[in-house]
């Protein structure tokens, strides 16, 4: 399954809810304000790094760039563009957006 999170982990609990429900081998794509969680120094970074052991973590590049965060992405997080976003949706049989 592909999980999509779009809210900041330092403002909402969406990421926590997602990581609690995501099963091993699933993909988590961070978009919009959720991309901050995948950056160095953020309090949510440890959660992302712990989750990366069992899940594939992706972050949307244009959203990172728009927030001045392109150079601060955590190791182990895969940055994708809009084409990559489409590929992820196509590759997975189902997806869940944690609004």
């Amino acid at each position: 399954m592909l999980h999509i999170v779009n809210k900041s982990a330092t403002e909402r609990s969406s990421l926590d809810s997602c990581l609690r429900m995501a099963t091993k081998g699933s993909a988590v794509l961070l978009i919009e304000d959720a991309v901050y969680a995948a950056t160095n120094g953020n309090t949510a970074a440890a959660k992302i790094q712990a989750a990366a052991a069992d899940l594939k973590i992706y972050a949307l590049g244009p959203d990172l760039a728009a927030r001045g965060m392109a150079g601060r992405v955590l190791d182990g997080v895969n940055v994708v563009d809009y084409g990559g976003f489409v590929d992820l949706v196509a590759e997975h049989s189902n997806c869940q957006s944690w609004l």
Binding site: E11, E32, Y36, N42, D63
Partner: protein, 131 residues
């Protein structure tokens, strides 16, 4: 005529306004709207403090490139605030720490305040407007 006099009397009052920014840019419209309201307030010669806490500190990030998401990059506008005599910009130390940010990461010069200092600044305002 008496109405005009009353209006003139009122125009001289200067209040302390705090604009409290707590949201990241782009994900919601709050940051951009807050910035526009601050610029309007500047025209009324009030005592304006602009405060950034929680995800609001992200508004001041250097190196923003929003072409890829096709929205306006308003981060440069924070640099123009000085030209509107809005020079009191404050950020919350704890919010910066929780996001791995330092003053060097920010597009404008700010005063970094502790929680206690921020609380005192808020308490002394006549008006607090939150975005």
């Amino acid at each position: 005529m008496s109405d005009m006099d009353e209006m003139d009397d009122g125009s001289g009052i200067v209040k302390k306004f705090m604009f409290l920014n707590r949201k990241a840019p782009h994900g919601t419209v709050y940051a951009l709207e807050g910035l526009e309201v601050v610029l309007i307030t500047a025209a009324f010669d009030q005592d304006v403090s602009m405060v950034f806490t929680d995800d609001g500190v992200f508004q001041l990030m250097k190196g923003i490139d929003s072409k890829g998401i096709e929205v306006k990059d308003f981060s440069k506008t924070y640099r123009a605030l000085e030209g509107y005599d809005i020079e009191k910009l404050y950020v919350d130390q704890a919010s910066m720490d929780a996001r791995g940010l330092t003053e060097d990461d920010l597009i404008v010069d700010v005063t970094v305040l502790s929680v206690d200092e921020m609380a005192n600044l808020m308490a002394e305002q006549d008006v607090v407007i939150s975005f």
